[in-house]
């Protein structure tokens, strides 16, 4: 019979992976208002299928410091609307404690906090709030930090569409007319760029396009586009970078020393 460790090596019973999820945030302004659940009910009824059993994060950021309410009963009433409270963010200390006690996960609030939380490994020695069990670190955000760049080594042919979701795109060969490159990040093309290139596809205005030979049909950064007709012939077949300068699509020759 094989030992436990050998078994574990052969067929691992689990795998740890980073992932990101989109969740609704229920911003709570006045939890004690008698109107709260009647109005929530009206909202939920507008799209019952969309809301049914949807996970929500309760946002207590706008609650006054002095507020007192029965959090467990509040959560139960939210559940009665077929919403699933899974976490919370912000709020006065007593509310946070009550929420943690009710089994909700503390979510980091705001983008800056997110990154900080992830970059700084949680210190297990640091005691949790008011001596309670330490608040678990948010594992769900690991992916935000680094997503591998999408690298394409084959020619991108007419009619092909390559999308680098939430990352950069590198093409080491040429991009044909009628082909389309999309990336939420930057786009680099080390062959001739003859098709379309749309960087910052989800709105990142800092994204750039870099190419060795600019012969593109369309260039776009965060929705600001230019068609080949409007591209100055000074840049044609040159090594160029394309970016937004004060919200205007601009181009610079890349200096090759």
């Amino acid at each position: 019979m094989s030992s436990a460790s050998q078994v574990a090596e052969r067929d691992v019973p689990f795998q740890l992976r980073g992932n990101s999820f989109t969740m609704m945030v229920l911003k709570v302004f006045a939890p004690t208002s008698p109107e709260f659940f009647t109005q929530l009910n009206v909202k939920v009824r507008q799209a019952p299928n969309f809301f049914r059993n949807a996970p929500v994060v309760l946002d207590f950021d706008d609650l006054p410091e002095s507020i007192v309410f029965d959090l467990a009963a509040f959560v139960a009433q939210v559940q009665a609307q077929h919403l699933l409270p899974v976490g919370f963010q912000g709020g006065p200390q007593p509310v946070r404690e009550a929420a943690a006690a009710a089994g909700l996960t503390p979510m980091p609030s705001g983008r800056a906090a997110k990154l900080e939380e992830v970059v700084k490994a949680p210190d297990p020695r640091q005691p949790g709030a008011q001596g309670q069990a330490p608040i678990p670190a948010p594992q769900v955000l690991v992916e935000v930090v680094h997503r591998p760049t999408l690298v394409v080594t084959e020619p991108v042919r007419s009619g092909m569409r390559v999308y680098a979701e939430k990352t950069d795109l590198i093409v080491t060969s040429s991009v044909s007319p009628g082909a389309e490159l999309l990336a939420d990040g930057n786009i680099h093309v080390y062959g001739a760029l003859r098709g379309r290139a749309l960087a910052g596809f989800s709105g990142d205005a800092k994204a750039r396009i870099f190419c060795h030979s600019l012969e593109a049909e369309v260039l776009s950064v965060a929705g600001n586009y230019r068609v080949s007709e409007d591209i100055s012939s000074d840049f044609y077949k040159k090594a160029v970078q394309v970016f937004l300068r004060d919200g205007v699509l601009s181009m610079d020759l890349l200096k090759t020393a």
């Binding site: 042919r157 007419s158 009628g178």
Partner: protein, 271 residues
């Protein structure tokens, strides 16, 4: 083990059927048992170019549907040993081509033949997809003009993503370019794309350049593959291409204008 070649282009009217007829004939002339299949269901042409239209009884679709045996549908060429034609149906449409049916026929043919050449219809729909799906080699027929080049580029993308070899993660389909209707004089005048321009965009090896030639139309009309016309540049160019396909090292010809005497140059200038 037989090799399956697809003659394809994306665009219509560039010379796929002419090239298929010439190429299949060229392979057979060199002693390989070859069959050429017409995948252009509903627009049957290959039999005309091969000059066997009056001998078609059963066709490819009949075989797929189990209405006829393969041997009943195969037409043996009268001029050349080892050359067979599998004509298609003029009355059906491309929906008659099922993947299972095509595979069954190709499997049966591969027991007997060295080369199976699939003459693709234009487009990137069912007919074209079925003709390229099982291919080991693709010959991309392109004219030296921008729309043909773009469509060829598209079909190369389709080969790389939707062929059997691509879907099963096998070694990719080998791809070679056959540039047809090339007119060196018009290229010189800037009216046509140069070989290099086309190669720069398509980025695949050049199998051959077939010069524009009146012999092609003449041959089609009498139902004779142009490769048999040894007096024509086009015929010689096809013969060279077949040689290159089989691995021979043959220099490209007919890519530059033929030298003209002083007299004809003077005539041209005054014209």
């Amino acid at each position: 083990m037989s090799k399956i070649i697809v003659m394809t282009s994306g665009k219509g009217g560039v010379g796929k059927t002419t090239s298929s007829a010439a190429f299949a004939t060229g392979l057979a002339l060199r002693g390989f048992k070859t069959v050429v299949i017409d995948f252009d269901v509903g627009l049957r042409n290959l039999d005309l170019v091969m000059g066997c239209e009056r001998r078609v009884v059963f066709d490819f679709i009949n075989v797929i549907n189990g209405e006829a045996k393969l041997n009943q549908a195969l037409i043996k060429d009268k001029r050349i040993e080892n050359l067979y034609i599998l004509p298609t149906s003029q009355t059906r449409d491309k929906d008659a081509l099922t993947r299972e049916g095509v595979e069954k026929v190709l499997n049966e043919l591969s027991k007997e033949f060295d080369y199976i050449l699939c003459d693709s219809p234009a487009g990137i729909e069912r007919g074209a997809l079925m003709s390229l799906y099982f291919a080991d080699h693709a010959i991309i027929v392109t004219n030296p003009e921008v729309s043909s080049v773009r469509d060829s580029d598209r079909i190369l993308g389709v080969l790389n993503s939707r062929s059997r070899r691509a879907e099963q993660g096998l070694e990719p389909v080998t791809q070679q370019l056959l540039l047809t209707r090339y007119d060196p004089e018009r290229v010189e005048k800037g009216e046509m794309l140069r070989v290099d321009d086309v190669l720069e965009i398509l980025a695949i090896p050049l199998l051959g350049v077939i010069p524009e030639s009146q012999a092609v139309l003449r041959a089609s009309n009498v139902g004779m593959p142009v490769i048999l016309d040894e007096a024509s540049n086009a015929g010689l160019a096809y013969s060279d291409a077949v040689g290159r396909f089989l691995g021979e090292d043959i220099e490209h010809r007919f890519v530059t204008p033929q030298k003209k005497g002083l007299f004809s140059r003077l005539l041209r200038r005054s014209a």
